[in-house]
């Protein structure tokens, strides 16, 4: 077998289940690749090599005894460093938590452990999940596997870089304003932000309780579906999770775009984004149509309005969470992180509560005006070619420069965190410089299954996600 790390999650899972390769061999293949790529992309904060090999050996022993825990049995993964694992440090990309050990394990890591996944370590991220580019003054920026001078997107920067560089078969990230979908788009992998309440956040360091989502990044929609199936569903330890049943995605292979109506933006939106990105997105429209989808131009929601109301919530909640540390340890925050939190101290409580009250009304408006006649909405993710790391380094600039970068990166992602609906980022080509481009498919509440099925059908017709980065 050539380098097993180049297989996707579904393929390595099948190979391990059929005992064509052991979990130890798969894990060692990832470790070999990590040693080559880590100096290039800075994806990991901590590598747990010995524990991973030990878990993999235990998985192999179980399989030899005829016991399988399911599709993820023996599959090496790694996750954004904001999920607690008992007695291990969870830094959340910060200096403040650099030596703090968790007292419990997050629900999602427990679920992945129970599913037999191997945990390779913790992945780089923007400090406290605040930042859409992947900069981190404490651990260094993650770098894009397709061009190491470029950003990975953030805040799940290491998750994007690790999945894109084939260092792991899948990774969890978190998304408060685009932090799964931006790095997925920038690093040429699929990223799923599920419906608010679908996936537990228990044991995850929060950015904003009302707008945080945790979800998978992996090379294919099929891979993300496997991870989604393992982690989604009601959790008594997270009272915001829904009791609605998690869909059965075992027949994802049979997905088709035939009969689906997909909403697309009009010329005004396409003209507002970079022409090279617009061309790639329009080509994806053509592929979707060729595979049987009907395209329909629909009115887009008011993105700036939704983003600003959502930002009111993020800032208020982040200020509440960070109040004590901002008072006592302001010097331990990056400027670009602290500056985004500070405004939250000046937002009146009435404004915050009204922003929360508006969510129901604006969700219903979105469903009635944009989604009424369509099954999915197609939208850009990052509306311009990926900038260089140094071009978006605003640590030494004024607060307005920080906000400008955040707003430009998250124009098309942040509104859907506020609305609570599922959205999946799907690789759809490369710009003239060879950098990845992606679109989003946005679904109705709790219809992650349709997002994943449509993305899977699109990937069955395209090869963009199979283009691996080179050293």
């Amino acid at each position: 077998m050539s380098d097993p790390a180049l297989l996707d999650l579904s393929e390595i899972a099948d190979a391990i289940a059929a005992r064509r390769i052991s979990s130890v061999e798969a894990t060692q293949a990832c470790l070999n690749r990590i040693k080559l790529w880590q100096p290039e992309v800075n994806a990991f904060i901590r590598l747990d090599e010995e524990e991973a090999l030990s878990t993999a050996a235990a998985c192999d022993a179980e399989l030899a005894a005829g016991r399988s825990r399911g599709k993820l049995h023996g599959v090496p993964l790694a996750h954004k460093d904001l999920l607690y694992r008992k007695d291990k440090v969870t830094t959340a990309g910060s200096k403040i938590l650099r030596h703090v050990k968790a007292e419990q394990t997050s629900t999602l890591l427990e679920r992945l452990d129970a599913a037999g996944a191997v945990d390779l370590g913790t992945l780089n991220m923007s400090e406290f999940a605040a930042g859409p580019t992947g900069h981190n003054v404490h651990y260094g920026p993650a770098r894009n596997p397709y061009d190491r001078t470029r950003i990975t997107g953030g805040s799940s920067s290491g998750s994007g870089a690790a999945a894109g560089a084939r260092l792991v078969f899948g990774a969890l990230g978190s998304d408060t304003g685009g932090s799964i979908r931006l790095p997925a788009a920038a690093c040429n992998v699929v990223g799923l932000k599920a419906t608010y309440g679908r996936i537990s956040r228990h044991g995850a360091v929060a950015r904003s309780w009302s707008l945080d989502y945790i979800g998978p990044l992996a090379r294919t929609a099929r891979d993300c579906a496997i991870m989604f199936s393992a982690i989604a569903g009601y959790d008594p330890r997270d009272p915001t999770t829904s009791t609605l049943p998690v869909p059965d995605l075992s027949d994802l292979e049979n997905s088709s775009l035939a009969g689906l109506t997909i909403g697309v933006p009009g010329d005004a939106v396409l003209k507002s984004i970079d022409p090279a990105i617009a061309n790639v997105l329009q080509e994806s429209h053509r592929v979707l149509q060729e595979r049987g989808a009907r395209l329909r131009e629909v009115p887009f929601p008011e993105l700036v309005k939704l983003a600003d109301i959502g930002e009111t919530i993020i800032k208020s909640e982040a200020a509440t969470m960070h109040r004590d540390w901002i008072r006592t340890r302001p010097q331990d925050y990056a400027f670009q992180v602290r500056v985004r939190i500070e405004a939250g101290f000046y937002i009146p409580a009435t404004q915050y509560l009204d922003a929360l009250r508006l969510r129901r009304m604006l969700l219903e408006k979105f469903l009635a005006e944009t989604m009424a006649e369509i099954d999915l909405l197609h939208a850009p993710v990052i509306p311009f070619p990926l900038p260089k790391i140094r071009e978006t380094d605003v640590e030494a600039e004024a607060g307005e420069a920080v906000l400008r970068v955040v707003r430009s990166m998250t124009t098309y992602t942040r509104p859907f965190n506020f609305l609570g609906v599922p959205a999946i980022s799907v690789p759809c080509g490369f710009d003239p410089a060879g950098l990845p481009v992606a679109f989003q498919l946005i679904g109705r509440p709790f219809d992650e299954a349709l997002c994943l099925r449509a993305a899977n059908a699109y990937q069955a017709a395209t090869e963009f996600h199979r283009v691996a980065p080179r050293l």
Binding site: T195, Y196, G197, T240, S242, L244, V304, K305, D308, I309, E311, T312, K315, E342, A343, F345, Y346, I347, P348, T350, Q351, L353, D354, A355, L356, R357, L358, R359, R360, M361, L362, L363, E364, L367, A398, G399, E400, L403, G420, R444, P445, F446, D447
Partner: protein, 65 residues
């Protein structure tokens, strides 16, 4: 811009007097908070008296059915 902005400015001014934020930063904060407050205030007249923050989760679940 809106009725609440003076309160916000006063809050920032108070912190400024205590030396917690500098002049330039206080001005930036006032602009940023004013913009966010305005975005919410433009929409509040669409709310019903009985709307509560918790109704959002129910709206998501209802839309799934």
């Amino acid at each position: 811009m809106d009725a609440l902005k003076p309160n916000v400015i006063q809050a920032i001014a108070a912190e400024l007097q205590e030396g917690q934020v500098g002049d330039a930063r206080a001005a930036e904060l006032a602009v940023e908070v004013g913009r966010l407050n305005a975005a919410v205030l433009r929409e509040v007249n669409t709310l019903r008296f009985e709307d509560e923050p918790g109704h959002f989760a129910r709206a998501l679940a209802d839309a799934a059915r």
